[in-house]
């Protein structure tokens, strides 16, 4: 396990499976109700969020607290960030609190990797720009393997705004590493040129959606209409909405949330038995527990703590 979780690109299949196994052990040990574990007692986890994200932040917070860590949330608004402090200065200031881990969400690609260079803490990328969202991909793989078993040979379609989606990028990498075959589908204006380099196929229509074992719908934001990526919501819905007519009975439906009912998904499929959207949210907690455990408790088990603290600028 690397010292940080910055991107799925840094992990191999073994690394992913190790995190998933750890997550499964947390889920199984505690049954339906996850009990609090003492693993990270006395250690600090800082959530540093430069974008609003109630879901991801609370999921990380619950995961860390379940492991008995002391959690502090820093939001970009109302903080030193608004006073013009640079990311580097903020991170070095927060590092003075000696956190075991910094969980960072930032609107720009590579921010988490930069933070990792500036702090001795373990860094978890909770989303960097449109680049990656590795814990989302891990919880998606976890959810799917729970539902389908191994992903080898499974066909997964990711539908919607690929261009602006860090979830799509991390999922393409994670699903293909687990042996699945990924197809991305959406309006040509929202599929970045060169995305095939990540190892996926590209489709512009849902005509062949029936081949998919898994349909993963992405959130469609209204500002894409304003910027003429698609001419109208109506036309997008007509071409790309996953509804009861398009979704097959044996297909699994996923979505990273929050869902725009009536846009990327029709109301009925959200509540259908094919949908695992709530299971994804549940998986989020155990997978993030597993990530924190592997980075913090795992590392401590393998390497003894140094007698004196290392330099702040590692």
């Amino acid at each position: 396990m690397p010292r940080h979780l910055l991107s799925i690109a840094d992990l191999d299949r073994d690394g992913i499976e190790r995190i998933l196994a750890r997550a499964a052990s947390f889920a199984e040990a505690s049954g339906r109700e996850i009990k609090k574990l003492p693993t990270l007692r006395g250690r600090r986890v800082l959530n540093l969020f430069y974008e609003n994200s109630t879901r991801t932040r609370s999921s990380f917070e619950i995961a860390a607290k379940t492991l008995s860590a002391d959690v502090t949330n820093f939001a970009a608004s109302g903080s030193s960030v608004e006073k013009g402090e640079s990311l580097k200065d903020t991170v070095q200031t927060l590092s003075a609190y000696d956190p075991a881990a910094i969980v960072i969400r930032h609107p720009h690609a590579g921010a988490a990797a930069m933070v990792a260079r500036w702090t001795p803490a373990a860094v978890v990328n909770a989303g960097d720009g449109k680049h990656e969202h590795p814990t989302q991909a891990l919880l998606d793989v976890y959810t799917l393997t729970r539902r389908l078993g191994a992903l080898d040979g499974k066909r997964i379609w990711i539908v919607g705004d690929i261009e602006h989606s860090r979830v799509a990028r991390s999922d393409i990498l994670a699903f293909t590493k687990m042996g699945a075959h990924v197809t991305v589908c959406g309006p040509p204006t929202l599929i970045p040129r060169g995305i095939e380099a990540l190892g996926c196929d590209v489709r512009f229509t849902l005509d062949e959606l029936r081949e998919a074992d898994v349909v993963y719908a992405l959130r469609m934001q209204r500002e894409r209409m304003r910027d003429s990526y698609v001419p109208s919501l109506r036309e997008y819905v007509a071409n790309y909405q996953i509804d009861g007519r398009r979704l097959g009975p044996r297909q699994v439906l996923m979505h990273p949330g929050p869902v725009n009912r009536g846009v990327e998904l029709s109301g009925d499929v959200v509540d259908s038995p094919q949908a695992v959207i709530t299971a994804q949210v549940e998986a989020g907690v155990v997978v993030r527990m597993a990530v924190l455990y592997e980075l913090l408790a795992g590392a401590r088990a393998n390497a003894p703590e140094p007698a004196t603290p290392g330099p702040v600028l590692a």
């Binding site: 990656e132 060169g194 380099a197």
Partner: protein
Amino acid sequence: MAAPRLVRAPAPDATLVVRRAHVLDPNAGIDAPHDVVVRDGEIAEITPPGDAAVPAGAEVVDGEGRHLFPGFVDPHVHLRTPGQEHKEDIETGTRAAAAGGYCMVVAMPNTDPVLDNAPLLNAVREEAQRDARIPVGFMPAITRGLQGAELTEMQELREAGAIGFTDDGRPVVSAGILRRAMRYQKLCGGVIALHEEDPTLSAGGVMHEGEVSARLGLAGYPSVGESTMVARDAALALDERARTHFQHLSAWQSVEALAAARAAGAPVSGAASPHHLLLTDEAVLTLDTRMKMNPPLRTERDRQAVIAGLRDGTIECIATDHAPHATFEKDAPFEEAPMGTTGLETAFAAVYTGLVRPGVLTLEVLVERLTAGARLMDLPVPTIAPGAPANLCLVDLEATWLVGESGYESRSENCCFAGRELNGRVLLTVAAGAVAYRERSFALSEVRP
């Protein structure tokens, strides 16, 4: 009577003899070992190796095993004065240039405030007369405030010493305004240099649009965002017969557009930057902000096209687009970091190491392309010939060095070649007759009383 186009701080005229260096000057047609005698800042004599008589008081420089080139000329640098002296100023910028073997540089106007009026031009020229290590020329803006809307007082600026005009850093989006500038050029002269970018196509792009941007989730700036503007403005240049120079060409389509325009008879020229000759967007994969520049690093196909254009003369010169930024500014996420790389101290060595040593480009072509910027800016081309002002650089082609290891002469450190081992070290630069740079380990040589 217009002001001289180049200015620098007073410096003593050099008197020196470079012994037994391999003199390579494509403009003068020299490519053999010689002694070169510089007396009172002028090239006095070129003799067979070992034959030169040493004038009284002359320094004797051992050129054995080294190469002597005409000083290089960079038609595109950012000296950041006025207003951004925390990045660079005229003193540090021209010192960096001298360390790279340059004897003339032309500074861009995207300063704060923008260099768009004669009083400001007079002020920066005064500063250069105090601080510039080598002769420097200034290229004021085409449009006031680089806003693309109203022309600057081009005639007054020319009389005050403007080399030419550019809105560098930004395109002249309006074809109508550019056409006006081209027509007005008939009155005032001065090349019009263009940063070509269609902002509706580059649209917030922070790197080349392609596989790497798709992977990283970064907004891409496609090649056609540059080339369509090259084609448009080449058509205007042809129609108006306006001397037009295309800066830092980065896309294969742009090279084709330039070649087509030239074939049609348009009075256009182009420049390539070392980073576009040597790096591709693959270098951005690590999100190293030193790899963020505008135009962006593009694909191997683009790189090869720019190299081919430089080799066959479609692209006449190398320009560094030396763009210093403070470390704290570059220490930001890639999308937030400012665009630009420094280049003056590494241009020769980087292109020599990357293209000449592997046999892609001849040394002769490299030296020619590093000096041709003078001709394109209507400046005297540095030449190693008796009677010419001494503009020289002595280079040890075998010396290797690690970029950044011993710091930079520039105030800034944002060099895209940092950490690379390069061949070719500039030992001595003479600019407009004065010694402008001496490499630290290259001690003052024997001086005859």
